[in-house]
């Protein structure tokens, strides 16, 4: 095959099945690509060449014996560093977990291994998934393959950049307020946040347990569906995991790939458009809407008035849960341990204090303080309690909107990728980047971001978000696939073909 790294996962799976290549070849090609470009991108915090090649060899042996473990057996994958991987470092982008090697696999990781996908390594992220730019990683930022001076989105900038830079055909991300979809939008890739509870969170180091969801990060909607079907489904280790089976997603993609949207009602959310959205983003969004209407879809404008409170509610619920989740990082059992310099005979509490002070970055500390305050006695009702009520009202807005529309459409992020450092000192500006993605997490509905073209003013990717009702993940895939087909036809090829060549990479 010509260039194994520019091939989609579905195509690689076919080539492996047809005996046109081997998993070792495919895996080595991606390791080589990582070697060439990751110095510039910094998508990976840890590359496991030896482990990935061993898994690849085992995959080839299974195939030779005629017993592939799954359709994707042998297709390599990158894993966000927030998912526990037995024997591989898992830092969550934080100094406090430097050197920690989990003794167990997250359920999704175990499912990848069982399905035979070699794990290339662990991808960079904002510390404990707190951020929208990957600049809050304690190990340095990831760079956007479209423009190395710009952010790749966050928190899962590493996974999105790895896929966008052809360092991996597939990656796993996690989405708490947009950490899969927003990086997908700004890197011209596909990211899916599945229905809350439909993919196990066991082994996902929790940021905000009631919002977190694992999902696929890919270059095509079909690849996302293949990966989603593989990792989805009930897990008895996750009490919040739902028991209904994952709907047939690849079928939905095939249906969507016809480009026909006859009878599909698409709702444009009034509150997720307009002011605050970059002109180029709005143009690309309108173009997508028009294409879909031309393809037979019915357009309805819907209003979700409570969405304006989503950001405020989110920044109470998330820090509250996070402040409690992060309490376990106390240097007593694992991770970083720092002895206070000014105390001769430190107590356990002194060591906890010094370690947490040294181990957590500013954004993490900011949210721990916010969350601790929001949960404090006397403030709980006014903050956490009130935020939970807003959450219920947002779900009602969704319910009402989905009575009028089959899917809801919006830009994924209000702007294209901003410059590294641009918003680092302005947390509120950073938080506003997740305006359109957060409501889905608050109510648990599934969503996808598909590439919507390049903004005219800066030539950078724009993402289109498609949301569907809880458990209707197949609808997200059908409409996402249709839009992908319509746009790719218009462009004459995938958007990523227009990304600039990276230094060291063949032109």
């Amino acid at each position: 095959m010509s260039d194994l790294t520019r091939t989609t996962a579905a195509q690689l799976a076919d080539a492996l099945a047809a005996g046109e290549t081997t998993s070792v070849e495919v895996t080595q090609a991606h390791l080589d690509r990582i070697g060439e470009v990751d110095g510039a991108i910094h998508a990976f915090l840890h590359v496991d060449a030896e482990g990935a090649l061993a898994q690849a060899a085992a995959s080839d042996a299974r195939r030779a014996a005629g017993r592939p473990a799954s359709g994707l057996d042998g297709v390599p994958i990158a894993v966000k560093d927030i998912l526990a991987t037995q024997g591989l470092p898992t830092t969550c982008g934080s100094k406090i977990l430097e050197g920690w090697i989990p003794p167990y696999d997250a359920t999704v990781v175990a499912r990848l291994k069982a399905a035979g996908l070699p794990i290339l390594g662990k991808t960079n992220m904002d510390e404990f998934a707190m951020g929208s730019s990957t600049e809050h990683s304690a190990y340095g930022p990831t760079h956007n393959p479209w423009d190395l001076d710009r952010i790749p989105g966050g928190s899962g900038g590493g996974s999105a950049a790895a896929v966008a830079a052809f360092e991996a055909p597939l990656a796993l991300g996690t989405d708490t307020g947009g950490s899969i979809r927003q990086p997908g939008a700004v890197t011209g890739t596909v990211g899916v946040k599945p229905t809350y509870g439909s993919i196990s969170r066991y082994g996902l180091v929790a940021l905000a347990n009631s919002l977190d969801q694992v999902g696929p990060v890919t270059r095509t909607v079909l690849d996302a569906a293949l990966l989603h079907e593989l990792i989805g489904g009930h897990d008895p280790r996750d009490s919040t995991s739902i028991t209904q089976p994952v709907p047939d997603l690849t079928d939905a993609v095939r249906l969507g790939a016809t480009g026909d949207l006859t009878g599909v009602r698409i709702g444009v959310v009034k509150e997720l458009n307009g002011s605050g959205y970059q002109d180029g983003v709005r143009q690309r969004f309108q173009e997508s809407v028009d294409l879909m209407v031309d393809a037979g879809a019915t357009l309805v404008e819907v209003s979700c008035p409570m969405f304006v409170h989503a950001l405020a509610a989110y920044y109470l619920i998330l820090p509250a849960e996070a402040s409690s989740n992060l309490a376990k990082f106390d240097a007593m059992r694992y991770g970083l341990r720092v002895l206070p310099e000014d105390i001769a005979d430190p107590s356990a509490e002194d060591v906890m204090r010094a370690s947490r002070d040294a181990g957590f970055g500013d954004e993490v500390k900011r949210r721990i303080i916010l969350g601790t305050y929001a949960l404090s006695s006397g403030y709980y009702d006014a903050y956490y309690g009130q935020a939970q009520k807003v959450r219920t009202l947002i779900s009602r807005d969704f319910d009402a909107a989905f009575e009028q529309a089959d899917v809801l459409l919006s830009p994924t992020a209000p702007t294209t990728a901003f410059k590294l450092g641009e918003k680092l000192d302005d947390p509120i500006a950073m938080y506003l980047n997740d305006l359109a993605t957060i409501p889905a997490n608050l109510s648990g509905v599934p969503g996808i971001s598909v590439p919507g073209g390049l903004a005219e003013e800066d030539g950078l990717p724009v993402g289109i978000q498609i949301l569907a009702p809880t458990m209707a993940d197949d609808r997200v895939y059908r409409v996402g696939s249709a839009l992908e087909t319509l746009l790719t036809d218009r462009w004459g090829g995938p958007l990523l073909d227009r990304a600039p060549a990276l230094k060291g990479a063949p032109a």
């Binding site: 998912l83 526990a84 898992t90 969550c92 977990l97 920690w100 989990p102 003794p103 167990y104 997250a106 969170r201 066991y202 082994g203 996902l204 180091v205 929790a206 905000a208 347990n209 009631s210 008895p236 280790r237 996750d238 009490s239 919040t240 509250a320 849960e321 402040s323 409690s324 309490a327 376990k328 990082f329 106390d330 007593m332 059992r333 694992y334 107590s347 356990a348 509490e349 906890m352 601790t372 949960l375 404090s376 006695s377 709980y380 956490y384």
Partner: protein, 500 residues
């Protein structure tokens, strides 16, 4: 360990000036095979940190799953305490930092307990006192810290500390009473009787090992005083680590006397946690605790609500042990005890022991006699609860069987108990090893009787004159000669035969 000894007010003076309000929080460690939120075993005494997994170690990414058996036990306890069972309730996180808490929060229940609004009728000196139960909720135990070095075994002054997480995640039920008012001088006894009866209930339910000495039942005593007759609630202290029935009673009494002294001196009681010291019988100040203690409770987002179906609750209510008061009536009738005998048996905390001893074959009066006299005395002498003396009901029954078979008498039986406590083997082995069997061989006894008669001619004459009561003096001489190992009945017969 006590910096300075507390000033105490005499008991009668306490009661003259103050009314106590009592509150008890009892933690019951369930005997489920696995932990509250993971599949780790719960066996007591295993190698430290050998019964742990990512979940109970709180490793990053691990998630809890509720143990259904623990919920079942919680519901049964709730029902046995006449509580309402929640149709829907959640777990909550109680956030605080401590090295033996793997996650630095305890998964517990806050404002939505599984069981609430119940009561238990407690018998004290023949009277029934209704103790109202506020709630019974589920939670997980913490790990166990061992502070090495230093004088006190406490964290302050220790050289280093070791933590065993085997206990982390073991299911606990915390049972909280409402304030117990109007108990006056009976407060210490009510506290003790409540814990004793609760323990018996737990045993009957079969949901816990119920070993106070191993910490599977732990009591915290809340106490406050208010000026007599005002019906007010004073500032309370919470005395932790009260791990025997006897200590519950003593700790209440001590705190009442200490509070009174503080209040008498015009000072205020400091709301705090106190530690009970079994050995010295005093409490000392622990960490300061106030209502400002902020655990930042919020619903545990990794667990779904517990919603026991009414059908399940109904089914479980069919598995409850006999109502304690009905059981008392039944046992009293079966055993033929007087009201006083029954009251003393309950008061001594020996009801279950007597019941088990009778079940093992002893006659009711014999069982009562051994526990309420011999065992109660020994327990008192060594300052332990009668149940933790180290003699089992089965052993008492076995000793009584030897008495019934005339192998030993009551006096020799006491030596058998000495042997049991010294770990010398079974009652039979002790009798053999110590040579305790009574002599009923007429040859040996006859010779001893002859010697006694010869040595006490005046007594012998009285008996010959028909004063049979005087035989007692000669029996005493023979028993002394035989070092107590004679069948006293047979000795009397021989004396009367020889002197008729």
């Amino acid at each position: 360990m006590t910096g300075k000894s507390d000033t105490l007010v005499a008991w009668d003076d306490v009661l003259a000036s103050y009314d106590p309000a009592l509150g008890l929080e009892v933690h019951v460690e369930l005997n489920t095979v696995t932990k509250m939120f993971c599949g780790c075993p719960t066996e007591f005494g295993a190698e430290p940190n050998s019964q742990v997994c990512p979940v109970c170690l709180g490793l990053p990414g691990a998630m809890p799953v509720v143990n259904r058996k623990a919920v079942e036990s919680a519901i049964r306890i709730g029902l046995a305490l006449n509580c309402e069972i929640a149709e829907w309730c959640r777990f909550a996180r109680k956030n605080y930092f401590y090295p033996d808490m793997p996650k630095n929060f305890q998964t517990s229940q806050y404002d939505e307990p599984i069981a609430f609004e119940g009561y238990m009728d407690v018998m004290v000196e023949g009277e029934i006192h209704r103790v109202e139960i506020e709630r019974a909720h589920m939670e997980e135990d913490t790990g166990k810290s061992l502070h090495v070095g230093g004088a006190t075994g406490r964290i302050h002054g220790a050289d280093y500390s070791l933590v065993d997480y085997n206990r982390a995640g073991i299911p606990l039920i915390e049972i909280v009473t409402k304030p117990i008012m109007g108990s006056r001088e009976k407060a210490p006894l009510i506290a003790k009787a409540y814990v004793a009866q609760l323990r018996e209930l737990i045993v009957a339910l079969g949901v816990s090992d119920a070993r106070m000495d191993q910490g599977s039942i732990r009591a915290d005593v809340n106490l406050s005083l208010a000026p007599v007759g005002t019906g007010a609630l004073g500032t309370r202290t919470e005395t932790k680590n009260v791990n025997s029935l006897r200590s519950v009673e003593r700790a209440v009494r001590y705190e009442m006397q200490r509070h009174a002294a503080v209040l008498d001196s015009g000072k205020a009681i400091f709301q705090e946690t106190r530690h009970w010291h079994e050995d010295t019988g005093v409490t000392t100040s622990g960490r300061e605790k106030s209502d400002a203690d902020d655990y930042r409770y919020f619903p545990e987002p990794d667990l779904v609500p517990v919603a026991p179906s009414r059908a399940w609750v109904e089914e479980l209510s069919g598995t409850l042990p006999e109502n304690p008061r009905e059981k008392l009536d039944r046992l009293q009738a079966d055993w033929g005890f007087s009201d006083l005998e029954m009251r003393d048996t309950v008061g001594a905390g020996a009801l279950g022991l007597v019941e088990e001893t009778i079940a093992a074959g002893a006659a009711p009066q014999a069982a009562r006699k051994w526990w309420l006299s011999e065992m109660a005395r020994r327990a008192n002498d060594s300052g332990v609860d009668i149940a933790e003396l180290g003699v089992s009901p089965a052993q008492v029954a076995a000793v009584q069987a030897l008495v019934d078979a005339k192998t030993i008498n009551d006096k020799l039986a006491r030596q058998v108990f000495d042997g049991l406590l010294a770990g010398e083997g079974t009652p039979e082995e002790i009798v053999a090893a110590r040579g305790l069997a009574v002599v009923s061989d007429d040859g040996a006894l006859g010779a001893a009787v002859d010697i006694a008669i010869a040595a006490n001619p005046d007594v012998a004459d009285k008996i010959r004159d028909g004063k049979h009561a005087a035989a007692g003096a000669l029996i005493g001489v023979v028993m002394k000669e035989m070092r107590g190992q004679a069948d006293a009945g047979r000795v009397r017969e021989l004396i009367l035969e020889k002197l008729s």
